[in-house]
Subunit: 332 residues, 2 copies
Amino acid sequence: MPELRKDPVLGRWIIIATERSKRPTDFVVEEFKTTGGFCPLCPGNEKTTPREVLAYGRDPNMPANSAGWQLRVVPNKYPALVIEGDLEKHGEGLYDRMNGIGAHEVVIESPRHEDRFTFLPHDQMVLVFRAFRNRIHDLGRDHRFRYVMVFKNYGRAAGASLEHSHSQLVALPILPRMVISELDGSLSYFKYKDRCVFCDIIRQEAQQDTRVVCQNDYFVTLTPFAPRSPFEMWILPKHHSSSYADQDDQSLSALADIFSETMRRLDACIANVPYNFVLHTQPLGSQPLEHYHWHFEIVPKLTSIAGFEWGTGFYINPMPPEDTCRYLREAL
Amino acid sequence: MPELRKDPVLGRWIIIATERSKRPTDFVVEEFKTTGGFCPLCPGNEKTTPREVLAYGRDPNMPANSAGWQLRVVPNKYPALVIEGDLEKHGEGLYDRMNGIGAHEVVIESPRHEDRFTFLPHDQMVLVFRAFRNRIHDLGRDHRFRYVMVFKNYGRAAGASLEHSHSQLVALPILPRMVISELDGSLSYFKYKDRCVFCDIIRQEAQQDTRVVCQNDYFVTLTPFAPRSPFEMWILPKHHSSSYADQDDQSLSALADIFSETMRRLDACIANVPYNFVLHTQPLGSQPLEHYHWHFEIVPKLTSIAGFEWGTGFYINPMPPEDTCRYLREAL
């Protein structure tokens, strides 16, 4: 019997379609491999990107935009939004528009073209999470921006166009709809229960122990109760916090540990699977929020978004999260 | 300069990414062609589908599930939801679930395997729209169901797995989130203005005349102000109505005309482009609604849904709808 499940924060319904049930080996994954050729993100080619906004690991005596870096952040050469200009919000009859002001940056996660995020050494992965924190702080000083969206596309099916390991940041002059829904949903719960819904989820999952993939002192990885995709996972801090940018170095080191373990477990189940991850954190300029809890959502690209998903905003998932959790636990 | 645009009903923001702007010939489309082999939807193979729930055009002296039909509706062999059983709504701590009760049906749009929806003769296309109406009425009598979602996936990239021209219906025991958002958004507007937002859109678009693709006495096709994808189009009835299922035969005949013209214009711009269409109509058992307006949304699959879209719920579109409208107008 298929089952309908509701996400307790967003109110989004998911169909666990048992009539279409699958095992990990049923998913066909196209390899995203190094084809060679010119790579604008490789060391030595710094001049082919827009000028860097951050670099880690370069000898301080060397000039910006030279080689020798361990991690580098540059503006996107084909940005979805541009940094220069005013918003000029205006109407047109019943329509609203504004200029596409924002920032769109690329985090080059390693100087080595062959490196994959999943298998980065601990210290290198820590640099990635520090770069996210640094850029959120810096972009947050620009009062035109309301939110910094941090995300990664891995594999062609997940929207990646460059092979060299990278993630992206987009600073937005508006709060995106999905962020508003998550803030609203968690606030409704808080008003009713006086507790953070994510803290309650973590507590209930620890008790039930059927959707906990792995954990350390600071973080837990879950397969969520109502996942959009097989092998969807959330990484949440165990202690309540609404702001990624407020995490200290110790927390980011623990985050690198669990992220690494989580991604290796995923890779052991479905080698080289395309995926997106997205950081969910509080809006820029917000005070700490009692009702909201920052986290990462990792969504493998294993099912297609077709008419039904477009029309309804809910998802058909052929694999219950309790099953994917078991596969992930046994993977390493 | 890129531009941010807001959908006046959903509040969904779109980035018109002019820095990534494209022409129709920039889109690479993989052909979805007839490869031969066994087709379960072809005449003669009626026994390989579940037993039909509707057939048009067969000699009334012939038995059900025999050949000789012009259009046939059958339950999906691999349904996302099943028709037999009770909902048994129950909680599990803070989570909500219910049995996956519903109906999932396939509308076989023509007996001819090579036919494409876009190029169906008028009378055949009318049968498709009558089948939608018939099935909504019939499924609406089952009081477990709240909504019938009608949609079509064309082309592999849009989620189709069978070549033979078909569309689908899913009867749902809940109102999907996207439907709720559309009802809520249009109700807010109605409360403020005492007018239907879709009627206002049609009026403003007729005046501006930059996003009207084509029209007849009953219907108009627009490229919406804030489209998720290049060549997204909406087909709306000119006279206010919230319910597709209440349309008479004359209206469905005019709908077949404009749908056919709309799809041929699209095909003339980008031959064989994969697409989804979704019918947006009022919930089952609802009285006629002053604030809501039924319509079809056609979304070609030309851009990828990557981390950014997942995280934000908004879309990056490389082509302004005024440009796509011009291409579509000039296409035939």
